[in-house]
Symmetry: C2
Subunit: 192 residues, 2 copies
DNA sequence: CAAAAAAGAATGAACATTCATTTTTATTTG
DNA sequence: CAAATAAAAATGAATGTTCATTCTTTTTTG
């Protein structure tokens, strides 16, 4: 009896193709046949790895989201001051947004449109917990404004997504100075 | 000879239906037949008002964008101080985002995905000129940080879109207090 | 009553998914 | 160790559906 050992490379190639094609055309304008072609695989093969198109995109979302949070919190250390901790996380997020543009663009599209189904989306949100905890502490210490996490997120984190899109879509180039300026704006908007 | 007088009501109904359906399912998952049904019109009739599906959505975008900027700058008066002017514009944007949620959600979707074609998108951007002029003046007067308009926009305006989506998607409700807090964050992030 | 507007049915293309085979891989057996 | 074989993996073609758009006919309008 042969082992059930489907090539992980093929799965990765499919996920990569999905990201690229969905980024450029959107979920519904991306046919399975194109994904298959880009991954050098027959359309039928996709169904050995994923239940259907929705499942493919859900799994892609969760995989990218995991890469994102793994990267973002890798260097984070709970024992620092709130400001230092925030700066650490923020800069990692910025780095991810700039260097892994394909991934962030995909995540952003998932967060802003109805491609992803609700369970997968909920699953994805929980990943930011350490940042929420840090804010909690900051509020207690009187360093962070005592306002809703949604507002804190909207002002200090979400703008990075916008800048990333601007970079992709318009003739705007984010350089080191911009990142520093953006960080100061982020901190100014949430600090007490 | 009968006048060429296509009913404006029908066109409006089509645009309204497009917004609602695209908001809930996205462009490519919205069939013309559904748009027709919701507007109480035959599918063939759509083609009397619009060239094709892409044209329908482009025109919808421009129409909504115009409603947006008309509303936003209606009360604006160039002769005020920079801070007052900014507050005036910002609050109108907030009001639009909260009260005309359907419109803002649609605009946001257009800005973040590849539904709209490039010429229509460019056309839409120009509409924010008065705000850009105000920032220019603010920078000269030393009231606003001397940084890229993209960053100013990312921190002071774009967060409202995020809050609007959060309101639609999660269990978050924007009240008057939130709006005040958000305005302070916006101003803190761009003021010198 | 003629021209415009609208309608429903028809058309053809595109697509997600499944089906029938072939190819690859791993294991067994002489 | 190699030939035989059985299961898994992969494939290309087929299927049935959905959809944008067009065509032909009917209805409305001035």
């Amino acid at each position: 009896m042969a082992k059930l050992q489907k090539s992980i490379d093929k799965r990765n190639a499919l996920i990569k193709a999905t990201i690229e094609l969905v980024n450029n055309s959107g979920f519904h304008a991306t046919p399975m046949s194109k994904i298959a072609k880009m991954a050098n695989v027959s359309p039928a093969t996709i169904y050995l790895y994923f239940e259907n198109k929705q499942d493919l995109v859900n799994q892609t979302y969760l995989e990218v989201k995991t890469k994102y949070t793994d990267f973002v919190f890798k260097t984070y250390d709970e024992s620092t001051s709130v400001k230092t901790g925030f700066e650490l996380i923020w800069k990692r997020i910025a780095e991810f947004n700039i260097n892994e543009c394909e991934y962030s663009f995909f995540l952003n599209q998932c967060n802003n449109t109805p491609i992803i189904d609700e369970p997968s989306r909920k699953e994805g949100i929980r990943h930011l917990q350490p940042l929420l905890d840090l804010w909690e502490r900051g509020k207690k210490e009187g360093v962070i404004k005592p306002i809703s996490d949604y507002i804190l997120y909207a002002y200090s984190i979400n703008p990075l997504s916008y800048l990333m899109i601007a970079q992709k879509q318009y003739e705007f180039q984010l350089n080191k100075t911009h990142v520093e300026e953006a960080f100061l704006s982020a901190w100014d908007s949430i600090k007490r």
